[in-house]
C-alpha cells in the first residue's frame, strides 16, 4: 500500500509506538518564541532538568511582542535570551534581527523536505510548504521537545486537496486557502494533514505555498504539505549547495518525500482555482467566507498588511503595486509590518517602503503583535480591520473588534477606498 508524504516522514522518524495509532517521533527542529516557551523553560528549571536535546536543532526568536511593551513582556524576552545563551543556542533572533517566526525560520533555510518540526504556535503548519511535517503544539509538548527531541502524534490521515486550473489575475494563494477552508469547514481537517497538490500549487512560489499551508490549521489540520519540487530546491539552494552536487541531485533526493501514486487518503477534494474570485471573511470564523464582490462597500477602520500569512516580500510587492502614487482613504488608518528584517531591507531597496509611506501607511518593525491583538495595531471595540492575517475570531485583534481576512491586494485596494473592495488587478 502506498504512503502519503506524512506517512513517509513518520516512518523515517519513529522512535516508539506507545499505543495503537500513537507515534513518538524524533524531531529535526524545535522552534521557540517568547510567548509559549518561557513557561516551558521555567518548568524545566523548576524540575531540575534545565537542558536542551540539541542546541543546533533548536531555533528561537522574540516576535510576538517586540520591542517589549511592558515589564512582563520584557521578562519573557529576558527568559528567552538568558536560556539561549546558557545553552549555546546560536540561532536566537533578538531585537534588531528578529522577525515573525514562520517567515524568518524558512528564510534562514531551517526547514527541509522530510523534516519533523514542532513549535508552540498553531501556525507552525506553514513549514509544510517545504514538504516537511510541521505541527503546532502546546507548551508541554514543546518542553519535552526541548528536553528530549521527541513528540507524540496520532497516526496521520491525509486529505488531498487538488488545486487545478490557473489563478485569474488579482486572485492569490490567500483567496485559494480561504475558499478551501470554506469548503472543509473549521474542523473538517481536524487530526488530519492536508496535502496541497495540482498544477495551481506547482505554479506557486514558496511565499504563496507558505500562505496556503499557514492556514491549514484554520480547517483544524495538523499540517499543510506541498510536495518538494524544483521551486523548493531553488529556494533552499543557498543553504544546501554544499550538500548536493547540483540542483538535479537535490531534487532527486527530495522527491522521495512525494507521496506514492497509490497512497491512501481519508478524502480527496478538488477545486478549480480558475473559478475563484478574491475572497474575504465575514463574522468570526475563518470558514465564513464570501467573495469580495459580495462584501463590497463594507467600511473598515484599519488596514493591516503583515503576519506569517502575508507579510513576505511577494505580498508587499503586490500591495505596493496597487498603492503606488496613491494615498489611503482619510477614513482608515493603515499599517504594514514586513515579516522579517531581510524582507524589510529588500522592500526598502525596491522602493516599496517609500510607496507605503507616501500612501499614508505606518511601517512597523517585524512582529506578530497586531494579528493577535497584543501590540502594534490593536482594535478598539466596534472597530473593524481589513487584514492579511489568518484568524478572525471575535476579539482577536482587540476586544469587540471585527477582522476581515483577505489578500494583500484586496487589503491595499481597501485601504485606498476606505471600504472593502476588489483590487484593480482583478477584472471580474
Amino acid at each position: 500500500m502506498g504512503k502519503t508524504t506524512a506517512q513517509k516522514i513518520f516512518d523515517a522518524h519513529v522512535v516508539d509506538k506507545p499505543a495503537d495509532g500513537v507515534w513518538v517521533l524524533s524531531l529535526d527542529r524545535v522552534f521557540c518564541h517568547e510567548i509559549t516557551t518561557p513557561i516551558a523553560i521555567n518548568d524545566l528549571v523548576a524540575i531540575g532538568k534545565d537542558r536542551v536535546f540539541d542546541p543546533d536543532k533548536i531555533k528561537a526568536v522574540i516576535d510576538h511582542v517586540t520591542p517589549a511593551k511592558d515589564s512582563k513582556t520584557a521578562e519573557q524576552g529576558k527568559t528567552m535570551r538568558e536560556w539561549a545563551k546558557r545553552h549555546g543556542i546560536k540561532d536566537f533572533f533578538d531585537i534588531g534581527r528578529n522577525g515573525v517566526c514562520h517567515a524568518i525560520f524558512p528564510e534562514k533555510g531551517f526547514v527541509r523536505p522530510g523534516f519533523t518540526v514542532i513549535m508552540g504556535d498553531s501556525h507552525t503548519c506553514t513549514h509544510g510548504a517545504f514538504g516537511a511535517f510541521a505541527a503546532g503544539v502546546g507548551t508541554t509538548d514543546l518542553e519535552v521537545g526541548i528536553l528530549k527531541g521527541v513528540c507524540t502524534m496520532r497516526e496521520p490521515e491525509t486529505i488531498k486537496v487538488e488545486l487545478t486550473g490557473a489563478l485569474r489575475p488579482g486572485v492569490f494563494a490567500k483567496d485559494v486557502i480561504l475558499a478551501v477552508i470554506r469548503m472543509l469547514t473549521v474542523n473538517g481537517a481536524t487530526d488530519k494533514v492536508i496535502e496541497f497538490a495540482g498544477p495551481a500549487v506547482d505554479a506557486m512560489h514558496m511565499d504563496a505555498r507558505m500562505t496556503l499551508c499557514n492556514m491549514a490549521i484554520e480547517a483544524g489540520a495538523t499540517c499543510g504539505i506541498c510536495y518538494p519540487d524544483r521551486e523548493t530546491v531553488d529556494y533552499l539552494w543557498p543553504f544546501i549547495q554544499n550538500d548536493y552536487a547540483d540542483k538535479e541531485a537535490a531534487l532527486a533526493d527530495y522527491s522521495k518525500w512525494r507521496p506514492d501514486a497509490d497512497a491512501v487518503y481519508a478524502k480527496v477534494v478538488s477545486l478549480d482555482v480558475s473559478t475563484l474570485e478574491p475572497m474575504v471573511t465575514f463574522n468570526y470564523k475563518p470558514d465564513q467566507v464570501k467573495t469580495v464582490r459580495e462584501m463590497e462597500g463594507t467600511p473598515v477602520n484599519q488596514v493591516y498588511i503583515g503576519s506569517c500569512t502575508n507579510g513576505r516580500l511577494e505580498d508587499l510587492r503586490i500591495a505596493a503595486g496597487i498603492l503606488k502614487g496613491k494615498t489611503i482613504s482619510p477614513d482608515v488608518r493603515a499599517i504594514v509590518s514586513p515579516a522579517t528584517p531581510k524582507i524589510y531591507r529588500e522592500a526598502l531597496a525596491e522602493g516599496l517602503i517609500q510607496i507605503f509611506m507616501d500612501a499614508g501607511f505606518c511601517v512597523t518593525n517585524p512582529t506578530c503583535g497586531a494579528c493577535l491583538g497584543m501590540s502594534n495595531g490593536v482594535l478598539a471595540s466596534g472597530e473593524s480591520c481589513a487584514s492579511t492575517t489568518n484568524r478572525n475570531f471575535n476579539g482577536r485583534m482587540g476586544k469587540g473588534g471585527m477582522v476581515h481576512l483577505m489578500s494583500p491586494a484586496t487589503a491595499a485596494a481597501t485601504a485606498l477606498a476606505g471600504k472593502i473592495t476588489n483590487s484593480p488587478l482583478f477584472v471580474g
Partner: protein, 174 residues
C-alpha cells in the same frame, strides 16, 4: 492523578476558541496561577457571566470543536487553575485535546446524541458528574435524575493522565 468529579458547567456552543478561553493579552503572564481570574473572559455566549458562572464548577460539557485556534496551553492551564480538570465535548481541536492530556487533564469525546441528551436532561440544573476510570463511565446526577454514560479514551491518553502528564511520562521513557 487529578480529580475528575464535580459540578458541571454547560457551554452550549460549538467552536469555542482558545482566544475566548484565555485572551491573548494575558499570555504575557509568566506563571500559570496568574491566569486564574481571566478564565473564559471573552466567551461569546448569551447569558454567560464568567465572574459568576465558573465558581464551584469542575467539569465542562460543551458542543463541537472545543479549543480551536491557537496552540496556547494557557487554555488548559486556566481551566486547571479554576479546578476544571475535565472537558466533555462532541469533539476537540487537536492541539487543545493533546494539551489537556499532556497536563494530565482529560478531554473526552462523546457522541453528539449523548451530548444532546446531557444538555436536554441536565443543563440548567445543579448537575454533578463522577468519573469512574476503572469502569470508564460517567455518572451524572442532579438529585431527581441520575444517568450513567460509558466513555472511551485512548490507552496512551489514559497513561498520560495516570502519569500526571507527558513530561513525567517522556522523562521516564525516552
Amino acid at each position: 492523578m487529578k480529580n475528575f468529579n464535580g459540578k458541571i458547567l454547560f457551554l452550549d456552543r460549538s467552536d469555542i476558541n482558545t482566544d475566548e478561553i484565555i485572551p491573548a493579552k494575558y499570555l504575557t503572564e509568566l506563571t500559570k496561577a496568574a491566569l486564574k481570574p481571566y478564565c473564559l473572559e471573552d466567551l461569546s455566549l448569551p447569558g454567560f457571566d464568567p465572574k459568576k458562572d465558573i465558581a464551584g464548577k469542575s467539569v465542562i460539557v460543551t458542543r463541537a470543536n472545543f479549543g480551536c485556534g491557537s496552540s496556547r496551553e494557557h487554555a488548559p492551564w486556566v481551566l486547571e487553575c479554576n479546578d476544571i480538570n475535565i472537558v466533555i465535548a462532541e469533539n476537540f481541536a487537536r492541539i487543545f485535546r493533546q494539551n489537556m492530556f499532556n497536563c494530565g487533564l482529560m478531554a473526552v469525546q462523546l457522541d453528539r446524541a449523548v451530548i444532546d441528551e446531557l444538555f436536554a436532561t441536565f443543563a440548567g440544573t445543579d448537575a454533578e458528574l463522577t468519573t469512574d476510570l476503572n469502569r470508564m463511565t460517567f455518572t451524572v446526577t442532579n438529585g431527581s435524575e441520575t444517568r450513567i454514560y460509558p466513555f472511551t479514551v485512548g490507552d496512551f491518553d489514559l497513561e498520560l493522565v495516570k502519569a500526571g502528564g507527558w513530561v513525567n511520562y517522556a522523562d521516564q521513557k525516552y
